[in-house]
Amino acid sequence: MSEPRLVEVRRNVLKQNDMIARALRERFRSEGVFVVSLVSSPGSGKTAFLEKILTLLRPGHRVAALVGDLATDNDAARLKRSQAPVKQIVTGTVCHLEAAMVQNALQDWNLRDLDFLFIENVGNLVCPSSYDLGESLRLVLMSVTEGEDKPLKYPTIFNSADVAIVTKNDLAVAVEFDWSAAQANVQAVRPGMKIFRVSTKSGEGVDDFLKFLAAQLAEHKSTTPA
């Protein structure tokens, strides 16, 4: 056999996903829908927060959601209580959503009928970070019960997100949550990241987030082709 030689190939391993994500982002832009994804560990309150947001946005905006889980459509059933259209993506054994799953789920949807589409990822702070879903805004949620150092333990997912939401603030005193340490940790792994502090239960902080979303939508619509 001949001597081995080195050939340069330079191929992005996730190119397939990135290409689908790019096509999705282009579709979302041309159809004028603002797409927000949510990532967090299991149990940090993604579904509760999203149900609240859908319910509060619905009088003034056209909203819908996709929700990913390994098994069950329990989360879709919860989100449907908001009266918004909701579709469950059951991933089976896959620990994260991929762009192709979003593309398949949206095949028969007319996105021009929507202002906001939310995509709730599988509860997992590791794997979703590698996969672009074509979203315009990625939220990473952490609850006060998880501890202030969550960003330091999972820097990659925080770095892949645009905005951090600290949830379950109604429990902050009980668990002696150190807000300034949490803020410093978020800034260390994702410098300049915007942070909202909310309680889905009491509604605290939710209005500020809704105002932020409305401003993002207005900006997005201003770039939508007529």
Binding site: M1, S2, E3, P4, R5, L6, V7, E8, V9, R10, R11, N12, V13, L14, Q16, V94, C95, H96, V126, C127, S129, S130, L152, P155, T156, I157, N159, S160, Q187, A188, V189, R190, P191, G192
Partner: protein
């Protein structure tokens, strides 16, 4: 834990390149960013399984770690950061930095031998 599916994607990519070039792959050189979200040890652990029953069976995976490099708009310069837990500019401490390297997940090169005719 998505390293097995990542390993399978790397194998698919390498097999495709090998077929196109008519060569046998003995090793795959991967560039892996510290912020890629992929764990090197887990990837190495999966490699043999991912290669099973493919043209890459018996090949090696060689991983080159790519550190995080940020661009600091204040210093107008690129800086390598020591830890993914602190992405502020190491020179001026500014928080406005952009990540320019460190998210790589790239099959950079293949060690190949011509297929015996």
């Amino acid at each position: 834990m998505h390293e097995l599916s990542i390993a399978t994607s790397i194998v698919d990519t390498a097999v495709e390149e090998a077929e196109r070039r008519g060569v046998q792959v003995s090793a795959v050189h991967l560039r892996l960013g510290a912020l890629s979200g992929v764990v090197k040890d887990a990837l190495m652990f999966c490699w043999e399984v991912a290669c099973q029953d493919t043209a890459l069976e018996g090949s090696h995976l060689i991983v080159e770690d790519v550190p995080v490099v940020i661009f600091c708009p204040k210093c107008r310069d690129e800086q390598t950061v020591a830890s993914i837990q602190l992405l502020a500019c190491p020179r001026c401490g500014s928080l406005g930095s952009e990540v320019v390297h460190g998210k790589e997940l790239e099959v950079f090169a293949l060690e190949v031998e011509e297929v015996a005719k």
